[in-house]
Amino acid sequence: MTEKNIISVEHLVRKYGKFTAVDDISFQVGAGEIFGFLGPNGAGKSTTISILCTLLKPSSGKATVNGFDVARQQHQVRQSIGLVFQDPSLDDQLTAQENLHFHAMVYNIPGSVRKKRIDEALKMVELDTRRNDIVKNFSGGMKRRLEIARGLLHYPKVLFLDEPTLGLDPQTRNRIWEFLLDLRTRENVTIFLTTHYMDEAEHANRIAIIDKGKIIALDTPDKLKDMVGGDIINLKTVDDKKAADEISQRYRMQATDGHGELLLEVANGDEFIPTLVRDLNTRIISISLRRPTLEDVFLKLTGRAIRDSEVSSMEAIKSHMRFHGRR
């Protein structure tokens, strides 16, 4: 491990009984980097985070955070990290301020700066006017913001965010991201996040795409998108199967099936569209051209859309909310 790598993972494996949730993954994260884990439900993202945060023991392999071994130097690792869990972890019978105070105490923040830090954190997530309200009465987004503020209270070296914006509205998501990006520049915090929102993953400097416990690609968002050759054409026709056959015969091109439309990878999309419209015998309903997204990368690598391999994100949000509202 070099000095610059704040997280280093080597051949990490985690099994639950016979089932392998994390299957021999290795990667490094540099200090100050935003590193994203992108993958469908059950890919092993949270399991990896739990191991890096010392909540779970690795079955085999080795991982260090801030230079400390996650299995043998747990105390030092815990001192170095901040965490926002996928599931809610606030005490909702306490006020916002009391939650932060508890955190400040167990992280040994000196009494002289405790109050200042709590004020600062509450301001940052715009909850300072609600500081004395019981958390139970907060909305989902407010709870999430409070959790993020709490994760940062002790100025961690590495911030782990497990689906930080799941179930939040776009404005709140943007605000949280503005804040995280600003924080990275100001404090040089390393951010490790998991997500299955494609647009969110774009914020990362580097992304590991994880599927079924394995890392199947790891690079910058742009380089990953370059793996998909050129542009993407979304094509809807009256008979997609017939159109796909026709395209493969005429242009020797593989059209993939994506949710009631066909996806084509082409080098020069804007020149290809007129040709296609002119030549195709199957009637076209709609056609559009776009730059590849990370979704296309996942599709190319696994042959499945991320959406196909998971419950719909609406469902995930609902179950998240149910959990929030249980007490």
């Binding site: 990290i81 972890s89 005490d91 019978q93 955190h103 992280y107």
Partner: protein
């Protein structure tokens, strides 16, 4: 020092929650209160004296104090299972504090809450014609806190293995009911069938109830010529236990259970 702060912080949070949620307090003293109301209302007079100067109400009152402590002491475990179920435990487990401090803080909080609840019962002493002097109250507080520590660590120990609320509640019932019914809360433990006598003496709660009863009953005015109330005391192998001997048994058990709870809670997946 850091561990002491961590224990205090965890204890303090549970106190806040307890204070915010006073209705929950009612849950664990309801049962004792009903007993007191029924037997304090005169029913016990019709049942005659268990010893000179001691009617059933006076006999049972200290038992009810003990029972309150046993029932609410286990709430430590419930609190731990709640924390796990609602995610807060993760926040605690990922903090740079030792598992020992977490288990210790939770145990102490449970014991404190149980002691506070026993004070409510003590305040009802006049209902059954018992007058507690300040000195007796202080002695009782010491005793109930020790007993509460023992029970509370039992709760934490169980919660470290049994992680769902449903399962924990079943286990809690399975443990507390025999503990109460086989401890001399409801009947004098001498002159009972042999099998019962054995079970009573194997029950940790018996050694918790006995000193509380001895301490409360020392306030009873004995009729002239009656040497004492040892006939109501717990005997082991023919020896009548003194308060200090009982305290010794409870203290050892409490120490073993706390150590076991801390150890069991520190085991990691």
């Amino acid at each position: 020092m850091k561990t002491a702060i961590a224990i205090y912080t965890i204890w303090y949070r549970d106190m806040l929650r307890f204070w915010r949620n006073k209705t929950r307090m009612l849950g664990s003293i309801m049962f004792p209160l009903v007993f007191l109301a029924v037997f304090g209302s005169g029913l016990s007079r019709s049942m005659g004296m268990l010893a000179p100067g001691v009617d059933f109400a006076k006999f049972m009152f200290p038992g009810i104090i003990g029972m309150t402590v046993v029932m609410s002491g286990f709430m430590s475990g419930i609190s731990m299972v709640w924390d796990r179920e609602f995610g807060f435990l993760k926040e605690v487990l990922v903090a740079p504090i030792s598992r020992v401090a977490v288990a210790g803080g939770k145990t102490l909080a449970g014991a404190t809450i149980a002691t506070v609840q026993s004070i409510i019962i003590m305040a009802l002493a006049p209902l059954v014609g018992v007058t507690l002097t300040p000195l007796v109250v202080i002695e009782l507080l010491g005793l109930t806190f020790l007993v509460a520590l023992m029970v509370s660590s039992m709760g934490i120990l169980i919660s470290s293995r049994i992680k769902s609320m449903e399962a924990f509640q079943v286990v809690m019932q399975m443990v507390t009911f025999p503990m109460m019914f086989l401890s001399g809360v409801f009947f004098p433990v001498n002159n009972v069938p042999d099998w019962l006598a054995v079970l009573v003496r194997l029950n940790p709660a018996s050694y918790a109830i006995d000193p509380i009863r001895q301490t409360v009953l020392q306030t009873v005015q004995l009729p002239p010529g009656v040497p004492g109330l040892s006939s109501l005391g717990l005997t082991v192998f023919g020896h009548t236990m003194t308060v200090w001997e009982d305290v010794g048994v409870v203290a050892v058990l409490a120490a073993v259970l706390i150590a076991a709870a801390m150890w069991s809670f520190s085991i990691q997946d």
